[in-house]
């Protein structure tokens, strides 16, 4: 059993730790490239959403390199993610690949059951340790990334925080146990605390809402955190992998309470579940409008149904809570120039707006 899985941001680091810890060999799909996208587009239904195509490209490239077991996620609700695994399996079989596919449903009991199936000669304690290390890696990376997004628009020497981040990712990837991981994490945090910041800068604060895959995958979203950071914007992403896990899988109390709070905020605009993150896109926009963010960027894959519902409601929300919203649809041909022009214009809009509020 040689395991592979789709890419989504830095998720591969955690999954690699998990499956290695379960005693399995792992083949990572090569980093997402033009070829990945071309392969995915060639064999996917034309009108399906972008993550489907990129995932499929990942699988093909990993199978080419010797993987024989694909671990991927299932899903429930109106979002097409729930169909991904079945259709991708069919496409890959028609192409002549021989492999097993393990579909993990977003449910902690199912996950434990599936992990048990994957684990090779490991007792319960060892499975637990592997699981714990993988989660700790996700938490560490998300926490550091949040901090980098805060520092980027303020740092005196441009690129310093990104340099620390890139180095730390490698150490986290290599960490074989919790204590090495924690040392690396704390080292990164203290190095980031030492980054020299420009005094007297009050960067624009932009909240990012929308679909999780485009939000987390830099090769698809044109590295939007980095771009905005270098344009002098503090980026606050409303979704990281750790948020998803703590909320949807472990159903931690603080997250459930937050969901409840968010659902109440969205309720006047959207009172029922539309799949994906549609309700949260609206709720976070209301919430960040109330918290005096300067603007919202709403991002989603072209043809994403839940987010299209949200997109059509957002102009009303934007008007009511008085916060500008820029909706960006990402597709295979999303040109860099088009995105940059819109981001620059949006930032100009927010700057003039702040200036006006300041003068008023």
């Amino acid at each position: 059993m040689i395991i592979t899985f789709p890419h989504m941001g830095d998720m591969s680091i955690a999954l690699k730790a998990l499956f290695t810890g379960l005693g399995r060999q792992v083949v990572l799909p090569p980093p997402i490239s033009k070829r990945t996208l071309e392969l995915g587009m060639k064999y996917s239904p034309e009108t399906t959403c972008l993550p489907f195509k990129v995932n499929l490209g990942n699988f093909i490239e990993a199978l080419e390199q010797g993987a024989n077991t694909i671990v991927t996620c299932g899903g429930v609700g109106p979002c097409r993610l729930g169909y991904y695994a079945e259709i991708q399996q069919g496409i890959l079989q028609n192409l002549g690949y021989r492999f097993d596919m393990i579909v993990v449903e977003p449910d902690i009991v199912d996950i434990i059951k599936q992990l048990h199936r994957v684990a090779f000669k490991r007792n319960f304690w060892e499975v637990y340790l592997a699981f714990r290390l993988a989660l700790a890696k996700i938490n560490a990376m998300d926490s550091i990334q949040r901090k980098v997004n805060m520092i980027r628009p303020r740092e005196v020497s441009v690129g310093e925080s990104d340099f620390i981040w890139r180095q730390t990712v490698d150490v986290i990837d290599a960490a074989e146990n919790l204590s090495t991981l924690r040392t690396a994490w704390h080292k990164a945090e203290s190095e980031l605390d030492g980054v020299k910041l420009k005094s007297s800068v009050r960067p624009l604060r932009i909240g990012v809402v929308g679909e999780i895959y485009v939000m987390l995958e830099p090769s698809i979203n044109q590295n939007i955190d980095w771009r905005l950071g270098n344009m002098g914007v503090e980026v606050y992403k409303t979704m990281y992998l750790s948020d998803y896990i703590n909320g949807h899988l472990f159903r931690k109390r603080e997250y459930l309470e937050k969901f409840k709070y968010l659902a109440d905020l969205a309720h006047p605009y959207l009172g029922h579940y539309v799949g994906g993150h549609g309700i949260k896109s609206i709720a976070h926009t209301v919430n960040m409008g109330q918290e005096n963010y300067d603007g919202i960027i709403h991002m989603f894959p072209f043809t994403c149904m839940p987010e299209i519902v949200a997109k059509n409601i957002l102009p009303k929300v934007s008007n009511d809570v008085d916060i500008p919203v820029l909706s960006l649809a990402f597709d295979e041909q999303s040109g860099e120039a088009g995105i940059v022009t819109r981001l620059e214009a949006f930032i100009d809009l927010l700057k003039y707006r702040r200036l006006k509020h300041h003068l008023a």
Binding site: D162, A329, T341, A345, D348
Partner: protein, 320 residues
């Protein structure tokens, strides 16, 4: 005479505006980019210099999809996106403007302005059916000069409905109408209405379109489109007197702001007309990002590099 230059390098046209110190437009130029932005800029500047030998440039701004490249070539004080440039120009020409309709060669946008501040904007994403290039094509197919297209539409007496959702389907609809015997002027008018419908449905979706409305971009010269907008919106639409060079005017105004705030201009002077610029691009193999790096040489020396995410190439250039 002290002036500010604005250069707008778009996909179809390259425009230059010359503004005096009070923001008055004293000269402007509209030429085709023809896929060679560097030559277009050099050519345009040559014409400007010949027509206005007395001018002394105090600041230069660039905009349009070729703004970064042009900024390097001429030495620009301000390099700004076309949405901001168009908004600044619109407010300069019509201070109380609330809505800007802009239709260019390959893009179209709508800018919403309230109390002198941009509050919302939209730009076409996946469809070209509502842009100038499509009108250009159809005029050529019907053998009508693009300049006469609008007047022809105004001659229409009977409305003909053309599907405007997609340029290809609009064309087959037009051919169908023409083969069944409809008058050309009615078909052209139907096309104008279809284009406006498509624009308002796509770009104008969810936007609060209030008057005063300013119409700019190359397509604003088309009287048929102007009338179709007025019919659809139920209020007058004003065409800017400088409608086809508004981006350039806006970038000249932005340059003016930039140099008064800080330092003298970084304009390389009209000598750039005869400089030799050689661009090239390569794929960096330093990491998995595989950035496409663009490098531009000026008279044999590397003047700028961009396109890399980590700064490895762009930061290694010392000559600005």
């Amino acid at each position: 005479m002290h002036v500010y230059l604005g250069i707008d390098v778009g996909s179809v046209s390259t425009n230059i505006a010359v503004l005096d110190e009070f923001g008055k437009v004293i000269d402007s130029l509209y030429i085709r980019t023809q896929g060679r932005p560097i030559e277009a800029v050099q050519n345009g500047l040559r014409q400007i210099k010949e027509r206005n030998p007395e001018i002394k440039v105090k600041g230069v701004g660039t905009t349009g999809s070729g703004r970064h490249l042009t900024g390097v070539i001429v030495g620009a004080d301000s390099i700004k996106n076309e949405i901001t440039a168009h908004a600044v120009a619109a407010m300069h020409i019509m201070p109380d403007v609330k809505t800007v309709l802009e239709i260019g060669g390959q893009d179209s946008k709508m800018i919403i302005i309230r109390n002198g501040v941009v509050t919302d904007f939209a730009m076409n994403t996946v469809c070209a059916a509502g842009t100038g290039s499509f009108l250009d094509q159809q005029a050529a197919r019907l053998n009508i000069g693009i300049e006469d297209f609008g007047d022809k539409a105004l001659e229409s007496t009977t409305p003909v409905r053309i599907a405007g959702r997609c340029a290809v389907f609009a064309e087959s609809d037009m051919i169908h109408k023409q083969q069944t015997g409809h008058v050309t002027s009615d078909i052209i008018n139907g096309l104008c209405q279809a284009l406006v419908r498509n624009y308002l449905n796509n770009i104008g979706k969810g936007k609060q379109i209030q008057s005063p409305i300013l119409f700019q971009g190359g397509v604003a010269a088309n009287k048929g489109i102007k009338r179709a907008f007025e019919e659809a919106l139920g209020c007058p639409v004003v065409v800017s007197p400088y409608h086809n060079v508004m981006g350039a005017i806006g970038s000249a105004l932005l340059a003016k702001e930039e140099v008064t705030q800080t330092k003298p201009t970084v304009f390389r002077g009209f000598d750039v007309i005869d400089f030799v610029y050689t661009p090239r691009s390569f794929e960096c193999s330093g990491c998995a990002n595989m950035c496409e790096v663009v490098e531009i040489k000026m008279n044999g020396n590397v003047a700028a590099r961009w396109g890399d995410q980590c700064g490895k190439w762009s930061n290694s250039v010392t000559v600005a």
